[in-house]
């Protein structure tokens, strides 16, 4: 290292606090506009890719955005429910393959996605270990869930109550992990997948208890024609096993049971258009949305806001540059004595210029590296960050 560079480095190292503040200011000046742009562009790309892969979505007539965010990214408040019958009707039309979704519940912070095996084929999801869910009460977990909770096939995960004070609500259901999905880099990595009927059990629409036919008098209060009245001593199951799965049943017509939405995958554009037409008719209680269009509208707004934000940040950066220039000039002024001494000892003008320049270069180089590292980190979590912001 040349003498001037060494002196420059020693000066910055000695005045650590000042150097750190300068590096932090320059880092933010570079990082903020760059990260904002990258965050929006990268995450928009990731979000639209998933939306583009999902041709049509049917849900209750409410916020389209909420419907898309909860059904595709499992990230928003659950929209109003639709009935399972909607799924059956779409299947019956023959215009599209229907995939039911119920995303109302979660397990230890990870969304529980009630669906059927078609979902995995549709999303191209593959198993990393174990097998697909076969029994009621079994689940398949995403790669991030397995890593975060440190569980795998053979372990179990318990559904979380909707609120802490939901005393009259559903019991937590212990779900056995049948398999773990390979990482896909999508929201599926963060989900717990179960059969849609399992979500109904979580909701309390289906349940399992000891066989009442063989129950003793201590449990049965009365027996009538087709009805048996039991007391609180009746054993309710909070885990579905191969031994008790037959005891689980649903009361009422399952076609009226709730879903969040239905993904509709028409074989071609014509069938898709015909299906869309059905939901434009008057009196239909559901809406059919094209996720790509819904997200496109949202991102258009995001991009507009982003342009204003970036403009503001660039203005702020210019102000920071002015302040930093002032700091360097003042510092140079304060060090006139030192520079005069160096000149008297024999230092050339080039040496002094290199010394001053090296300090500036060191500060900017450190800031660039730091800004690059931060931007890289932001890029890794771009989609999750934007989703969190959108659903805040």
């Amino acid at each position: 290292m040349s003498g001037a560079l060494r002196l420059g480095w020693r000066y910055l190292a000695f005045h650590r606090f000042k150097s750190t503040v300068l590096v932090a200011a320059v880092t933010l000046m570079i990082f903020l506009p760059a990260a904002t742009r990258l965050l929006v562009e990268d995450s928009a790309e990731a979000l639209t890719a998933r939306a583009a892969e999902t041709p049509l979505l049917v849900g209750a007539k409410a916020s389209q955005l909420e419907l898309v965010l909860s059904s595709l990214y499992f990230h928003a408040e659950s929209p109003p429910e639709i009935s399972y019958q909607v799924y059956q009707e779409i299947q019956d039309t023959g215009l599209a393959r229907a995939i039911p979704l119920n995303t109302r519940f979660n397990a230890r912070g990870f969304p529980i996605v009630g669906t059927n095996l078609d979902y995995f084929e549709f999303r191209g999801l593959e198993l990393d270990e174990g097998r697909m869910m076969g029994l009621l009460g079994e689940c398949v977990i995403g790669a991030n869930v397995a890593r975060s909770l440190d569980i795998g096939s053979g372990d179990s995960v318990v559904s979380s109550p909707e609120t802490v004070f939901d005393l009259a609500g559903t019991y937590p259901l212990k779900m056995n992990v049948a398999g773990v999905l390979a990482a896909s880099g999508t929201p599926d990595d963060d989900a717990v997948f179960v059969d849609v009927r399992t979500t109904w059990v979580i909701q309390g629409l289906g349940h399992g208890h000891q066989d009442l036919e063989n129950a003793g008098k201590a449990v049965v209060l009365s027996r009538g024609e087709g009805t048996v009245t039991a007391n609180a001593a009746l054993v309710q199951y909070n885990e579905i096993t191969t031994d008790n799965v037959r005891e689980f049943h649903f009361h009422g017509d399952t076609s009226g049971f709730p879903l969040t939405s239905v993904i509709a995958v028409p074989p071609d554009e014509k069938n898709g258009t015909l299906l869309r037409g059905r939901y434009l008719e008057e009196g239909v209680e559901q809406q059919l949305v094209v996720p790509d269009e819904v997200l496109g509208d949202l991102l258009e707004t995001v991009f507009t806001v982003q342009n204003y934000v970036v403009f503001g940040l660039v203005m702020l950066s210019l102000a920071t540059v002015a302040v930093i220039t002032l700091v360097f000039l003042l510092s140079h002024q304060l060090r006139r004595g030192e520079i005069f001494t160096l000149r008297r000892m024999g230092a050339s003008r080039g040496f002094i210029a290199t010394l001053v320049a090296s300090e500036i270069v060191f500060v900017f180089a450190a800031s660039l590296l730091l800004a690059a590292a931060l931007t890289w980190a932001v890029r890794l979590y771009a989609s999750q960050l934007l989703l969190s912001l959108l659903t805040f």
């Binding site: 040349s2 003498g3 001037a4 060494r6 002196l7 020693r10 000066y11 190292a13 000695f14 005045h15 004595g337 030192e338 001494t341 160096l342 000149r343 008297r344 000892m345 024999g346 230092a347 050339s348 040496f351």
Partner: protein, 226 residues
């Protein structure tokens, strides 16, 4: 051959200061120890700067050994100054962000030719030992007393074993005890390296340490005007 030879030196500051100085002749022998005294503002520091080559005369010649310093190119004059002239200043002029050892090595950092040479830490250690600061190599100037700082400045001036050692009121910021100590060190260092010592001072109590005392007024008699 003389250590310093000045002939027909004329110098004046441009602009409003209106200072001019003339030294018709001065000769100082090799390894001599000279004290220069005189009233403030008479031009003593200017003479040292002319000898160091940081100022250039309007006329005349200044020879350090057999080199006419005012005829050298800028680059050669700088290099000559780094290698052949050691300077000690009144306010020490140590860099606060360098350790004691690094301050002594400063001439090497400034001169690209020396940066590549092997001379360095051993020489600094050796110099620090001679001034009683061997254990302070890693200290920063702010943690040293004034007397210690000036001793470090002397080490820095002596780093390249200069043929000429210029000291401009080096005891001006020191208490009485440290004044004599620093002068003793300067003289001792100059003697041990065979350097010629030229020191500007107002303190008459220190003159006994020098072989010769030059009254600046007499040196420039009829030649200095302000």
């Amino acid at each position: 051959m003389s250590a310093i030879t000045i002939n027909g030196l004329e110098f004046s500051y441009a602009g409003e200061r209106g200072f001019s100085m003339r030294v018709s002749s001065l000769e100082i022998a090799q390894s001599d120890r000279i004290a220069i005294t005189g009233p403030s503002g008479s031009g003593k520091t200017t003479l040292l700067n002319l000898l160091a080559g940081t100022l250039l005369p309007a006329a005349g010649e200044i020879r350090i050994g057999d080199t006419c310093i005012n005829r050298l190119s800028d680059t050669d004059r700088r290099r000559f100054r780094i290698n052949q002239i050691g300077q000690v200043f009144q306010a020490f002029e140590l860099l606060d962000y360098l350790s004691v050892e690094e301050n002594i090595l400063l001439p090497r950092l400034i001169d690209p030719a020396q940066s590549a040479s092997g001379v360095g830490r051993e020489r600094a250690t050796e110099l620090l030992a001679t001034v009683g600061l061997a254990d302070k190599a890693a200290y920063f100037p702010a943690s040293l007393s004034h007397g210690e700082r000036q001793r470090v400045a002397v080490c820095r001036a002596m780093f390249n074993r200069p043929q000429l050692l210029l000291a401009d009121e080096p005891t001006g910021n020191l208490d009485q005890a440290n004044k004599q100590n620093v002068v003793d060190i300067l003289v001792e260092q100059a003697l041990s390296h065979g350097s010629t010592l030229l020191m500007v001072t107002h303190d008459r109590s220190l003159l006994a340490s020098f072989a010769r005392v030059i009254d600046f007024s007499e040196l420039t008699a009829g030649g200095v005007s302000t």
